[in-house]
Subunit: 475 residues, 2 copies
């Protein structure tokens, strides 16, 4: 199995200087300006060189007419030059000692047109010939908060333990942006597109070895070398939790993947088997990927699948029980002694002292709620506690009290000693959204996993628990 | 099969006067105040009488010490008197000519305690003896915009075609509130709890006959008379689309349902078979119920399952294709002639001219986008068009342009003549939420179905299409 040069790849994520080749001069609204804007706004510390045959000045920076005019050393190039100019461009870069080029440009093999596929072959030949490594083409490249390299001005500059390898730029933005308010922070991220040179196995191997990455997330449309990928994935999954979303499992998704990153993807079953055999957590959507990352990051591994659920609302408690069991978790009946303990200070009128526990009538008596949660958390027939609240949809008197409700659950679960997961609904109407975000931020800072529907929580917790059980069996 | 008195039930939804019995005097923050606040704020036109043994005044209204002191005629009573006083209360109400009492009070058979179950039996006996009909106990009662009867101050006072029968008050609030910003409006809604007297079959029969109700939504935990319910459901589903969410299908959900509304619910398989046989659309969560209602309300029935999908983002297009096929819809390959037509004015670099169509590079050239959508909509191998945008997660330059993007898709789909569905992501961070809500409102007003994930859209459209196909076979 070919091995990567870890130090060389690590340098890609930490360039000392960057040249932007093909920066649009006359159109400040052109989308590729995002590279310049992001480096500036995110505070990239090294020199940034702009290159465009027209020359001139952009944002106070000189625009050099070609790479050879750039005055300083160039570590890394972000290139938006057209496909037909790619090979020559690589030669010029090599002459200036450039080690890595991120080719953002699209219009290569993914078009399905022979002449465009030829540009990609020429690009690869040139790269091999000149000893330059290529990320892409047809991708967004690197985001690494540590080195302040970014391709979106709104990405967080806080580092975290998640490494993301993604074949799609848009899906990367989606994940990083939703991760931002879900408490997911990244060590480094790479959107690698057509993978003409550096491919999924190279990056996966790098992330496996990278001490800054504790959890690996993968969005993949297809692989270049199936055998190597399987070996790399196995090794990665042995050492770190790996969560994988395969794009292009249906006939049409497959077709789209071929058009998107020029891959030949294999069947859904193949991927299912691969993930099961290698111990990879497989997910089916970006939402699920986000939920699983939240679980891995914030939920201490419970001892098993048995949930004790508490919150306000009888109908909610019914649906919560259904969703948790539908996704393979268990919601055991309350033991008589626990029921009795709760009954000492909780009236049965308007509450349901079963599991799930509907605590409607006393939900804003925070001492009682904390005590009830403590009792559930200490119950030896449960492995973790789930607290729920429905802020935007419940009675108006609850709206301002979600934060103390969750707080009481948190205190109770902590004294009981079991992991806690919190579910509440996303707030789309803006007045509610602002409250949700505040509450969310507060409890993410406390290290609590927060989810936005019963089904999504149950599915994510179950996926991680399945992974956990397999791991315990094999180690 | 017992038949309902339609006129009598219709009067329940349109009371001329209402008494609130058991209104809390000393605690203005007590949650049951929601009944008074809602009637006042929603503009109920008839007299509102307050009754509490303590007497006094609340919000400028006299509090009468008992029902007999009330000066005017009382059509309808909302009662929060304790369970042990229920039977006597019914007698007093009957003496004043009251025809219907909504018993909000909990603490009856749902507690699982023998003495509390006895209160319910006594309540039912008293009601039968005095010829008074009961809604409940243990429920939130009626919401009917037409008569301005409501139990939540934030419910819309605009009427719509959806009738909702729900055994849970909290789930009712959830549905009405999420319906509010999803464009779902209700003819009338009833939360009926333990169903001691009036039950699911009575309400279902009423909604089936009600000319103001075109679509029936049901949240149900269990039935009193299985045979009658099956007959009622069959008849309802013959005449109107019926969407049903069964709460309590798992062991624990079942247990919660028993504690919630004292029902004995039967197995998941029984319900699945019942829905299939009667032609009812069955859903598994409140989110899915909402999505299906959006589909029924806003998506003209397409001729079949074949979607043409268009939007910005290669990775999005891959996942969109996967989700639509995963949920039983079809995403056929573009025919060469359509591909050619699109190719005339759309470059292949950075776009994907397959199906799904990734229109990334030209998404804000609205004329091109409209024309591309028109071509897809006119394509004879597709039955409907799906447009997507990812406002909060895509490149910053798209953020302010979502509305014209959807507009272009709408214009294009209209000239092509096929139904259109729009998907974009919910905006949880508040700055995004406000934009989302605005855009959402605008296109809901245009009568376009809007969804918030590929999976949810695909699942809802597929569920309605399955219903549609069965219907076409049988009629």
């Amino acid at each position: 199995m070919p091995s990567i040069d870890f130090a060389a790849m690590d340098r890609m994520f930490h360039p000392r200087s960057i040249a932007l080749a093909g920066i649009p001069i006359s159109d400040p609204g052109h989308w590729t300006r995002t590279f310049l804007n992001s480096l500036l706004e995110c505070g990239f510390a090294g020199p940034i060189y702009l290159v465009n045959p027209r020359g001139g000045e952009v944002k106070g920076l000189t625009v050099y007419r070609n790479i050879s005019e750039v005055p300083g050393e160039i570590d890394y190039v972000i290139s938006t030059v057209p496909p037909r100019a790619a090979a020559a461009h690589i030669a010029e870069c090599a002459a200036r000692g450039v080690r890595t080029i991120h080719f953002c440009t699209a219009g290569f093999s993914e078009t399905g047109e022979a002449d465009h596929a030829r540009y990609e072959a020429e690009l690869l030949n040139a790269a091999r010939h000149h000893g330059v490594r290529i990320i892409g083409p047809n991708c967004m490249g690197i985001y690494c908060p540590e080195s302040r390299v970014s391709f979106h001005t709104a990405f967080s500059m806080e580092s975290g333990p998640v490494g993301l390898i993604s074949q799609s730029g848009g899906n990367t933005i989606d994940l990083v942006m939703s991760g931002k308010w879900r408490g997911i922070r990244f060590s480094k991220v790479v959107s690698y597109g057509n993978a003409a040179d550096l491919d999924e196995s190279d990056f996966l191997q790098y992330f496996t070895e990278d001490p800054k990455t504790r959890i690996v997330a993968v969005y993949i449309e297809g692989v270049k070398d199936g055998r190597r990928f399987r070996q790399t994935l196995s090794k990665a999954a042995l050492l770190k939790p790996v969560v994988l979303l395969k794009g292009g499992v249906s006939e049409s998704g497959n077709r789209a993947a071929a058009g998107h990153t020029a891959v030949l993807s294999s069947s859904d079953h193949t991927w299912e088997a691969l993930c099961r055999q290698t111990g990879v957590i497989r997910v089916c959507s970006l939402e699920e990927l986000t939920d699983v990352l939240v679980t891995l990051l914030y939920m201490p591994r419970p001892g098993g699948r048995r949930a004790a659920i508490i919150g306000p609302g009888g109908g909610s408690s019914v649906l919560a029980g259904d969703e948790f069991e539908r996704h393979g978790l268990k919601v055991p009946p309350l033991s008589p002694s626990v029921r009795q303990q709760l009954g000492h200070f909780t009236p049965i009128e308007g509450n349901i002292l079963r599991n799930p526990v509907d605590y409607s009538q006393n939900i804003i008596e925070f001492d009682k709620l904390a005590e009830a949660t403590r009792i559930l958390s200490g119950w030896d027939e449960c492995d973790f506690v789930v607290g729920y609240a429905r802020p935007n949809l419940a009675a108006p008197h609850l709206l301002g009290r979600i934060s103390p409700i969750i707080n009481a659950m948190l205190q109770g679960a902590r004294s009981g000693g079991k992991p806690l997961a919190i579910i509440f609904q996303p707030g789309v109407p803006p007045n509610i959204a602002s409250q949700i975000t505040e509450i969310s931020d507060k409890f993410i800072a406390e290290g609590i996993p927060i989810y936005y529907s019963f089904g999504r929580a149950a599915r994510a917790i179950s996926a991680v628990q399945t992974w956990n059980e397999r791991r315990n069996r094999t180690t």
